[in-house]
């Protein structure tokens, strides 16, 4: 009896293989194929968590060591830029999620529109970031390259003899700021490249309700990059927002 059941399972698998060309031969069915794909993407994202996690750990170490310098350094960032970019990324996550929705339901035109809107929002984010970086350049706030922190950007309550050390430690905040936002921006650039490819293939009609793994898995990547920013925004921009000068 057991033998007969095994045969039966194989017959089902064989039948599904004949029914759809989208099923790779090493999977039993589409469900298993989808599961394997998203599991693989999540394993990659776990390595990304550790990648950014190391930088977050560095942030925590130096912030506990140089609490005052970090608050002053953070005050030097314009939180309005950060808030604007947070909104841009959250909207882009929504449009990405909708692109996946329209791929699942097979509405090709809306799917392409959503992917292109996501891409435009990603470019908007990078544009704002470029304006911010340029502002830091003109204010000599790029660490290692003639970093200079103006005296009136340190609260008046700080005594004279502590100011030199403080300025030195503020530079540490900016090392971490540029490392973390820089790595995040690199992920955005890669993401925009990926979006361009996926939008092109979506336009060509490659994705159907049965097969749209690239859209779904790329969506996971895009949302992950959004999550990193959700943490970067309060930790970098909002930390010194209420500091009295």
């Amino acid at each position: 009896m057991a033998h007969a059941e095994t045969l039966d399972v194989h017959d089902h698998a064989a039948a599904e293989h004949h029914a759809t060309p989208n099923l790779a031969h090493h999977f039993d069915n589409l469900e298993q194929q989808r599961e394997a794909g998203s599991l693989g993407m999540w394993l990659f994202l776990v390595t990304e968590i550790m990648f950014f996690g190391a930088l977050f750990t560095g942030y925590i170490i130096y912030r506990t060591k140089f609490a005052e310098a970090f608050a002053i350094g953070s005050h030097g960032l314009n939180w309005k830029f950060g808030a604007f970019n947070t909104v841009v990324l959250i909207v882009s996550s929504l449009t990405m999620a909708l692109a996946v929705f329209f791929a699942q339901t097979g509405v090709r035109q809306m799917q392409v529109i959503m992917l292109v809107v996501t891409m435009v929002l990603g470019l908007t984010f990078l544009g704002v970031k470029a304006v911010e970086y340029h502002e830091k350049y003109t204010h000599h706030h790029i660490p290692g390259f003639g970093f200079d922190w103006a005296d009136d950007e340190i609260p008046r309550s700080v005594p004279q003899e502590k100011r030199a050390a403080l300025e030195y430690n503020i530079q540490m905040f900016y090392w971490i700021y540029f490392a973390m936002t820089g790595l995040h921006a690199l992920h955005m650039i890669i993401g925009i490249g990926g979006l361009a490819l996926i939008a092109y293939f979506a336009h060509r009609g490659r994705y159907t309700p049965e097969y749209h793994a690239p859209v779904e898995l790329f969506g996971l990547y895009w949302h992950f990059v959004d999550i990193v920013w959700i943490f970067l925004f309060p930790l970098l921009y909002l930390l010194g927002a209420n500091l009295k000068m």
């Binding site: 776990v46 968590i49 209420n242």
Partner: protein, 100 residues
């Protein structure tokens, strides 16, 4: 079992919640809650809530298999271990005193 499709309505609801939480975190950061620690706790609590919403709904983990749950949770567990062990070292360095 076929793929679970999250409805558009659900996506809009999550989006609305994320926007409201962003407004709250900006508002909370611009007032002095008494101590920097309290401001940090509020900011992190909101950030974690937002991340959970994105992971569970935008990233479909809420509707994924147990295996995916374990992998996602495992990722954050390892992150926690890295931070906890590192900080237990840094924070305890001044605690040990001995005659010189």
């Amino acid at each position: 079992m076929s793929e679970h499709i999250v409805s558009k309505k659900m996506y809009y609801a999550i989006f609305g919640a994320l926007m409201v939480l962003t407004a709250i975190t900006v508002f909370a950061a611009n007032i002095d809650l008494g101590s920097e620690k309290l401001n940090t706790i509020v900011a992190l609590a909101i950030a974690v809530t937002k991340a959970m919403l994105v992971i569970l709904f935008f990233m479909h983990v809420r509707y994924s298999s147990r295996l995916t749950w374990v992998v996602v949770a495992g990722g954050f567990l390892w992150l926690f271990i890295m931070v906890a062990l590192t900080m237990s070292d840094y924070l305890s360095r001044g605690m040990l005193t001995y005659p010189r």
